[in-house]
Structure formats: C-alpha cells, structure tokens
C-alpha cells in the first residue's frame, strides 16, 4: 500500500451464461484466452504492473477454480510481504446470514471491512472479464490532478454501437455531465469501461447509504454513479486508447483470439515492458512434427503439432495429429485433433477430443461452432 495508497477490487462473480458450456464449471473470468491466459490475468497483471499491491477478487458463481487460481498471487508477483490477492466470496457474519451479492455495489458493501483493514485513500473497481492493458497509475495521477471524487475510464466506441454501452457525456475538461445506461439516442460515444477510481471515504459513505435504500439495485452503473452525479460530485472521464474487449459471447471470444494473429495486433502480448502474467505450466516447449504445416497461428508450450494449422490459436497442451486440418479455429487447453479430422470456424473446449476423420464446423458458417463434447471419429 505504500506506493500509491490504492487498493483494487475486481468484480469476478458473473457466470457469463452466453458463453454456454464454457462456463458450466467455471466463472467467466476464469475462461481461457490467447493460448495460455485466463481472462482475469489481464486486470491482475495490469494491477501488478501499475504498482498495486493488494487486490480483492469478489467471486461467487462456481468459484472453486477461480478461487484457487487467483489465490496463488505469485502468478502476478502479488505475493510479497505486504501484497496479496484475496478471494472475497459472500460470507456468514455475526449479524448477517450467508447471502449472495445482489449487485456490483453490494459486493463491495459486503466487504467494507476488508477494504477498511488496509485504510486505502483510493479504491479501484475493476471488472474481471475484460481483455486490455492499462496503466492504472496514470489513471490515478489524472484522478488526483483533476481533484475528482470519482474517475471513470471511458473508451470511444463507434457511434452506431454506442447504445449497447453505458455512455458518459463529458465536457472538454473531462468532467462528466451525465450518464446513460444503454441509451436509445446516445449523446456521445464515450462508453464506460466499468473501471472506477473512488476516494474511499466518499465511496464508503455512498455504499452505507445504498445498503439501506430498499429501491436500489446496488449497482455501480445504475445506482452509485447516478447518485454521485445527483449530489453534484466531480466525476471525471479518463479517456483510454487501445485494445479493449468484453468477450460476452462465443463469437466475440473467438474474435478476440483471432485478433492476436494480426502482425501488428493492438494488444501486443509480446511487449516485455507490460507482460501479462499467468499460470506457470510445467511442459516442454511445443513440438512441431515432420508433417506439420503452420501458417498464421498463435501456439504455446506443451502443444504437439503434426498436421495443418491455419489462422488458428492453439492453447496449452493441444495436439494436432498428422493429416488433420485446423482452420480459423481456437483449440482450448488440452484439446486433441486426431488424424485426418478437419475443423473450420470452431472453438473446441478444453480437453475435448475430435476423432479421426471427423469434420467440425464449416468454412462459411455465420457463427462460430462451440464444441464442448467429444466428437467421435472413424474407429
């Protein structure tokens, strides 16, 4: 806490049900991405790289995998003396029964005691399921420079898509004038990224009041931010430029993976000054066999490739046998493609086996096919 007196809280409770079978056994922030990462590696690595030492992760749905994943703070270097990643599920208290988090604000409210124990000056609220690289220290510097009560990170989106987002209308200095959740007729194209810096004293007061309000849905976007604006508080919009993606659907998850294949992809995971840290897997480097043919691919350690791989992302420990063909597809950790199988425009879930000569997906489908069950091949 010495460095910048800001503590981060990551909201990671959501199931992400539009990801279907991928989130049966894990929460959305734990979903695999980019060959070797999980989505939550992004906010956590951003925290580590921004000099934030203490991170609370608010979990709820099928949190077992997520809890044990983030608990090992060493993955992001957040395991030093006064650092830590702390899993914060709902809990039983002397004066309260075990209850689910009712909204994003409620999740923080139920953990006011946790935040208080670090007495931070600022609290950074993050979402656990966005893919982006961002220096929160810069955002904090702007927050301080503007003497803001709260700062909200915003990104310019195409005007025609603006109505899908929470839209901030700000003046030239960046002061937020009003906020509309998914407006039919958006006045600006500055979408909220769901990233907030609050002065903790103020937020604490707001949360206590919000808990008592029976009409509140206990949500930052719907309740806390409008209330702050009502109170005439100084809300600042921090403009972010760069890659940012909320992967809510199978199509968008596939797309986000495909984005990595561009020679100059904006996310640039190869930047050694802003690394994304993740689980350290004990495997060999990947092996490429004598019959392999690989073009435009993103391939990580532990893979064994002896077939054709085109325009695809291969996650840890996947296998592509000789004569098999993987095109425009994503193979999640441990997926196996047997001899002669052909895959087009598909996302193969972790550990799934595609049998010999099987054909999955098609080159001209509109949507990406999610394969979450074994596909039998020719025996």
């Amino acid at each position: 806490m010495k460095q910048n007196s800001m503590l981060a809280m990551i909201l990671a409770g959501g199931r992400g049900s539009r990801l279907h079978d991928l989130t049966n056994k894990m929460a959305k922030p734990a979903v695999a991405y980019g060959g070797k990462y999980r989505i939550i590696d992004f906010p956590l690595s951003n925290c580590a790289n921004s000099g934030i030492d203490v991170v609370g992760v608010l979990t709820q749905y099928e949190s077992i995998l997520l809890n044990s994943y983030v608990a090992a703070g060493r993955r992001w270097g957040l395991d030093a003396k006064d650092s830590g990643v702390f899993v914060l599920p709902p809990r039983e208290k002397a004066d309260a029964n075990l209850n689910v988090y009712r909204g994003t604000a409620d999740a923080i409210s139920q953990n006011v005691d946790f935040v208080d124990s670090y007495s931070p000056e600022y609290v950074l609220i993050l979402s656990g399921d966005h893919i982006y690289k961002m220096n929160y220290a810069k955002m904090l510097a702007e927050h301080k420079a503007c003497n803001a009560d709260a700062t909200i990170a915003v990104i310019e989106v195409p005007m025609r898509e603006a109505s899908r987002f929470g839209i901030m209308n700000a003046d030239e200095a960046g002061r937020i004038l009003d906020f509309e959740e998914k407006p039919e007729h958006p006045k600006s194209n500055l979408a909220s990224m769901g990233i907030y810096i609050f002065n903790w004293k103020l937020l604490r007061k707001m949360l206590v009041a919000d808990m008592k309000n029976p009409d509140s849905s206990h949500d930052f976007g719907k309740d806390i931010i409008p209330e702050l604006l009502n109170d005439g508080k100084n809300l600042h919009a921090y403009k972010f430029k760069g890659y940012w993606k909320d992967v809510g659907t199978i199509d968008s998850l596939w797309e986000a993976n495909m984005d990595l294949l561009a020679a100059d992809n904006e996310l640039n995971l190869n930047d050694s000054t802003w690394k994304i840290y993740t689980e350290d897997v004990t495997t060999l480097p990947h092996y490429v066999g004598p019959d392999a043919d690989i073009k435009r691919a993103f391939i990580t350690q532990g893979c064994t490739i002896n077939g054709e791989v085109k325009n695809s992302v291969l996650f840890t420990g996947t296998k592509v046998a000789a004569g098999a063909k993987v095109v425009d597809s994503v193979l999640m950790p441990g997926a196996v493609v047997e001899e002669g199988a052909v895959i087009h425009r598909a996302l193969i879930a972790g550990g799934i086996r595609i049998g010999k000569q099987a054909v999955v997906g098609s080159a001209d489908s509109e949507h990406i096919e999610l394969v979450a069950k074994r596909v039998k091949g020719v025996e």
């Binding site: 392999a292 073009k295 350690q301």
Partner: protein, 371 residues
C-alpha cells in the same frame, strides 16, 4: 523423504563447454529451449522429496543465482526447504586445485550443519530423470557404504570421453572408477551421482584433502574401492552428459526426437524451471517449421528444421535455420542461412547470409554478437 539432503556438485576442471561456459557455469546453460541444465538435478531432488539442496558454484554466479531464486519454481517449501548457493572463493578458473573436494572443504561448516543422515550428490552437468528416494531406499536396504549411479552405453568409444566409468563385478560391486579412454564400446558410464551417509561423505572429504590437493571425490571413492562396500546402480531412460561443446549440441538435438524426449520428460516427474512469462509463439504467413522444438515468445516468418528455438527468437522472412540450437532472444535476419550452429543469447545474425558448419563440428555464435 527427509533422510537425505542434496548436493549439486560443480563441474570439474576437465569439463568445459567451449563458448557458452565463458558466460555462465554449465548448470546455467540453456537446454531444450526453456530449461537450464541444472533444472534436471534439482527437479529430480525436489520430486524425490529432498528439500534441502546445496549448489556449489565457482564463478559467474549471477545467471545461476538469478535463475534459482529461492527455489519456489522447483516446488520447494520456502520455509522448511532451502536452496543454498555455496561459493568457492579460493582458486582460479583453470587452477589444478579447482576440485569438488576443495569446494566442499571450503564450505565444510555448511555441510556439517545439515542434520540429515544421508547425502545425495548429483552433477550440475548431466541430464536425466531419476527417483533418488527409491535409490536411497535401495542403498539403505543393500547395506552398501556408497551407491554410484551409472548408465550402460555401447558407444563409449566415440562418446562420453570426458566421463568416468565404473568397473563392476557380477554383484555390481565397484572395482574401480576410471576415466573413459575410448578403448571399448560397452561401458558403464558413471553419472557422477553418489549416495552415502553424510558422515562418510565428510570423512572422505578430509581424507581426500590429506592425500592430495588435486584429488576429486571420484578419485577418493576409487581409492576406497577395496576398503568400502561400493556398489553401482544402473540407470534407465534418457541420459545426456554435457562435458564439452559437442556433447551439449548432441544432447539438445537428440531430444528433438519424441522418442528420446518422452523417455526424459513425463507427467509424473515434472522438470521445473523458471517461467519467463513470454506469450505464445506467433507463426506468420511465410513460416515453415518442421521437426523442431519451439519455445514461447518467438516470431517465425522463415523456415526452421530439426532445430531448437529458445524463448523470444525472431526468425525473419526468408531465413533458414537447420540442425541448430538458437538461444533466447536471438534474431536470424532476412535470408540468412544458419546450419549446424549454436547461436547464443541475443545474438543477431543479420548481414552475413551463410553461417554453415558441419554436423560433426557445429559452429558457435557468441552472446550479443552481431554478424
């Protein structure tokens, strides 16, 4: 298994990997793209339950101490266990007094402080998998004074020429430990791995020292063959001995073969190393890679065959890499043809377009060099 502590012994003066070793001790040399040679003995120890390990080192300690850290990557409990790097301050590099015995002796205090009854000593320059807890149990059950690990080979005429061999009787009793002179095909190559009581180890150090300032542990063990019950234990599976530049090259290249690598690496016996947090490797439209081992973080636009790429290498358009070992962050420039080479870390092969050696005498490109 808290009965034994481990010692990773330093390479003796007859062992020298030309080129690479100028920059770091053998243990810190890159192996199979993402490993260092010392990852193998330490992982063997950790997997065998040995969590107090002394690593002896003589010079250029930075790359090794950086790599080892506190040993967490080897799954060694950071409270209960400990990786201890012990330095030898006396004696110069090629000094004839530069023996393992001299290193032990200089750090005798640290050896005597260990409260474990047994010691397992393994070299920092050999690559193999072995379960020391089983070997120790066998050693205890056998009643032997010393157990030596060996690997039977049938190419000792042309290979393992810097190694010792064990001369065994039918009961696997060791008659002699002697240098491989390349006079016979079939030999039991001594894997420089010892199991014995700690007390005996201390006694041997003192004895060796009093007998000759040039004596090594192998020398004194050989000397004691008649006096003590010394036995050989055969090792099976992959065995690589890195005692010079050629054996380094050969060991790497041989492990591209899945058959060999499967016999060294297996899921129940993890070989740990320090992660570098590199992203996956990116293949471009123009890439062509066959029969190779590729680490993370590479950018591949050219052709790679029968080679090993370290982390973060860049193989540019039109470049051809064959039968080569490319260490981390090297760059092979456009249309550069590299064959039978070891390219050290961060070297940039840009202007000279043909860098080709013979398979029998592979070439070496220095660290940070620009060609």
């Amino acid at each position: 298994m808290y009965k034994a502590f481990g010692i990773i012994n330093p390479a003796g003066r007859h062992i020298w990997v030309e080129g690479l070793q100028s920059y770091r001790p053998i243990g810190a040399i890159s192996f199979m793209g993402r490993y260092r040679v010392i990852d193998f003995p330490i992982s063997n120890m950790s997997n065998s339950g040995i969590d107090r390990i002394q690593i002896y080192i003589r010079r250029k300690p930075r790359s090794l101490t950086d790599h080892l850290g506190t040993g967490r990557q080897y799954n060694i409990n950071s409270k209960r266990g400990r990786l201890e790097v012990l330095f030898t301050e006396n004696g110069a590099e090629h000094d004839i007094y530069n023996t393992d015995i001299a290193s032990y002796s200089e750090n005798m205090e640290c050896i005597e402080r260990m409260h474990h009854p047994y010691v397992v000593i393994a070299p920092s320059y050999m690559v193999y998998s072995a379960d020391y807890s089983e070997l120790l149990q066998d050693h205890i059950d056998s009643g032997a004074d010393i157990t030596l690990l060996y690997h039977p080979v049938d190419n000792a005429k042309e290979a393992f020429l810097n190694c010792n061999t064990l001369d065994l009787n039918r009961q696997k009793g060791v008659l002699a430990v002697e240098r491989n002179r390349g006079t016979a095909k079939s030999r039991n190559i001594f894997m420089d791995t010892y199991i014995m009581k700690k007390e005996l180890f201390v006694e041997l150090i003192h004895k060796a020292k009093s007998m000759s300032s040039m004596y090594t542990l192998a020398d004194i063990v050989n000397y004691e063959c008649n006096e003590l019950d010394i036995r050989g234990a055969a090792h099976h599976g992959y065995f690589g001995s890195i005692t010079d530049f050629n054996s380094y090259y050969d060991a790497n290249i041989s492990l591209i073969d899945l058959k060999n690598s499967t016999s060294l690496f297996n899921d129940d016996w993890p070989i740990y190393t320090k992660t570098n947090d590199s992203c996956p490797t990116q293949y471009f439209d123009t890439s062509s890679v066959k029969t190779s081992v590729v680490s993370n973080g590479c950018l591949i636009e050219g052709t790679v065959e029968n080679s090993i790429l370290g982390r973060g290498c860049h193989i540019k358009k039109g470049a051809v890499v064959k039968n080569s070992i490319i260490l981390a962050e090297a760059v092979i420039g456009e249309d550069v043809h590299v064959e039978n080479q070891v390219v050290d870390k961060r070297a940039k092969l840009l202007r000279v377009k043909e860098i080709v050696a013979s398979k029998e005498k592979p070439g070496y490109i220095k660290r940070d060099d620009i060609l």
